[in-house]
């Protein structure tokens, strides 16, 4: 398969991805082949594997936004906990080349070693599921309960660590990974946490309501003021123009009788018209250029709030479905 066929096939395989993701990936590998040079092209194409494998790698990369648990080994990216459970854990204790099943049964101490890392993995598998991929669904059912407290504590730890500042403690290098799971962690909130949050919410309710009403009032007042000033300025502009025109007409009529006074009033009327036009244009600019972005921002704000609510509902729904 030459480069052209390879890239076309890859593009076709990725066609269901979002346009920007597909384009970015295609550009990356196109760049890659360019940088490798024509003389290495065949070799690199070989090394990249089949377009199908490459597409799978790219997809795994996209999925890990929800909870990345892949292992990068010499065979390339290996998705998820499936392969990891046996590979890392079985090796150190197996002196010989045991089969996985045999090494798994190797007695209490070995079991202990295996359990530690495993429960961590389960958490990840759970996290991945929430993202909607559903690929590890069957994995979770046996260990799902064990994983829940972990996920909860993960979320709590995250909330505490806040802005992921560089000064935090030992767990920090994994912070980046955890961030993706934060949302999924919410799903596993323990009962005590929920009660605590509820109590907190009840106590905070008066404050929240007061602040909310205050904010709402401020917003309404601001909006009213904006509308009021818009109307005043618009009318002001129109009135100025009209007055200027009338004044101009009157002064033209008096041009022969009182030339000096007429010229003065003509000048004034031109000023009036000019001012009126300026006001009208200014308000036109404000209405067309300044308001739409403001409205858009306000709409975005409202949308994020509603979306967040939706998200919570989704999670709750999912939880109901599982139990």
């Amino acid at each position: 398969m030459n480069r052209m066929d390879f890239m076309n096939r890859l593009s076709a395989l990725l066609s269901d991805l979002p346009e920007n993701e597909r384009k970015e990936a295609m550009e990356y590998y196109n760049d890659y082949l360019n940088d490798a040079g024509v003389e290495n092209e065949g070799e690199v194409l070989e090394a990249l594997g089949t377009p199908e494998e490459l597409a799978a790698t790219i997809r795994e990369g996209l999925q890990d936004a929800q909870g990345q648990q892949g292992v990068f080994s010499e065979e390339g990216f290996q998705a998820g906990p499936r392969s990891r459970g046996n590979e890392i854990i079985a090796r150190p204790q197996g002196a010989g080349e045991n089969t996985d099943a045999a090494s798994a049964r190797e007695g209490g101490a070995a079991e202990g070693v295996q359990n530690g890392p495993r429960s961590g993995e389960r958490t990840d598998a759970g996290g991945k599921d929430v993202g909607g991929s559903g690929r590890f669904g069957e994995r979770r059912s046996p260990g799902g309960n064990g994983a829940e407290p972990n996920a909860g504590s993960g979320a709590k730890a995250d909330a505490g660590s806040g802005a992921r500042s560089a000064t935090n403690g030992s767990g920090d290098p994994r912070n980046l990974n955890r961030r993706y799971r934060q949302d999924s962690g919410k799903k596993h909130l323990s009962g005590g946490m929920i009660v605590l949050l509820t109590v907190l919410a009840v106590f905070a309710l008066p404050v929240i309501i007061a602040v909310g009403i205050g904010l709402l009032t401020a917003l309404v007042v601001l909006a009213l003021a904006a509308i009021f000033f818009t109307i005043v300025f618009l009318f002001g502009g129109v009135i100025l123009i009209c007055a200027g025109l009338i004044c101009l007409a009157a002064s033209v009529a008096k041009l022969t009788a009182f030339p000096a006074a007429a010229l003065l009033s003509m000048g004034i009327s031109f000023l009036c018209i000019g001012g009126g036009i300026f006001l009208t244009l200014a308000i036109g600019w404000v209405v067309t250029k300044l308001f739409p972005p403001l409205f858009r921002k306000a709409a975005d704000g409202v949308r994020t709030v509603t979306h967040r609510k939706q998200g919570k509902d989704d999670i709750r729904f999912e939880k109901g479905g599982q139990s």
């Binding site: 690199v44 594997g49 795994e60 990369g61 996209l62 936004a65 390339g76």
Partner: protein, 107 residues
């Protein structure tokens, strides 16, 4: 290599490679340099770079090069901070394991 490279370690290596170039570097070169220390398939790095970019550890810019655009990756302040953490953690971790090996041999 018998030891697998976890995602965090690979992140750390990539960040280290990119941070060596103040002006940034590009995908092919990063891959080749990472391949000097760990075995890694040619296709693996794209998801890693993409993830690091999304985490604001890397930033990208395009440079005109021989009639086409080449995408350069450059480390961000956040990426540098992350790399420092990884380095500290690695020293701690590898030191412990080395200590374990040496302690075991001495006994």
């Amino acid at each position: 290599m018998i030891f697998n490279t976890g995602a965090a370690l690979l992140d750390a290596i990539v960040l280290a490679v990119v941070s060596r170039e103040p002006e940034g570097t590009y995908g092919y070169k990063i891959t080749q340099e990472v391949r000097q220390v760990i075995e890694l398939s040619e296709s693996t790095l794209y998801p890693v770079l993409r993830r690091l970019m999304r985490d604001d550890c890397l930033e990208v810019y395009d440079v005109e090069c021989g009639g086409r655009n080449r995408r350069y990756y450059k480390i961000t302040p956040r990426g540098s901070a992350q790399l420092k953490l990884y380095e500290a953690e690695w020293i701690r971790y590898s030191g412990k394991i080395t200590g374990m090996f040496e302690g075991g041999a001495g006994r």
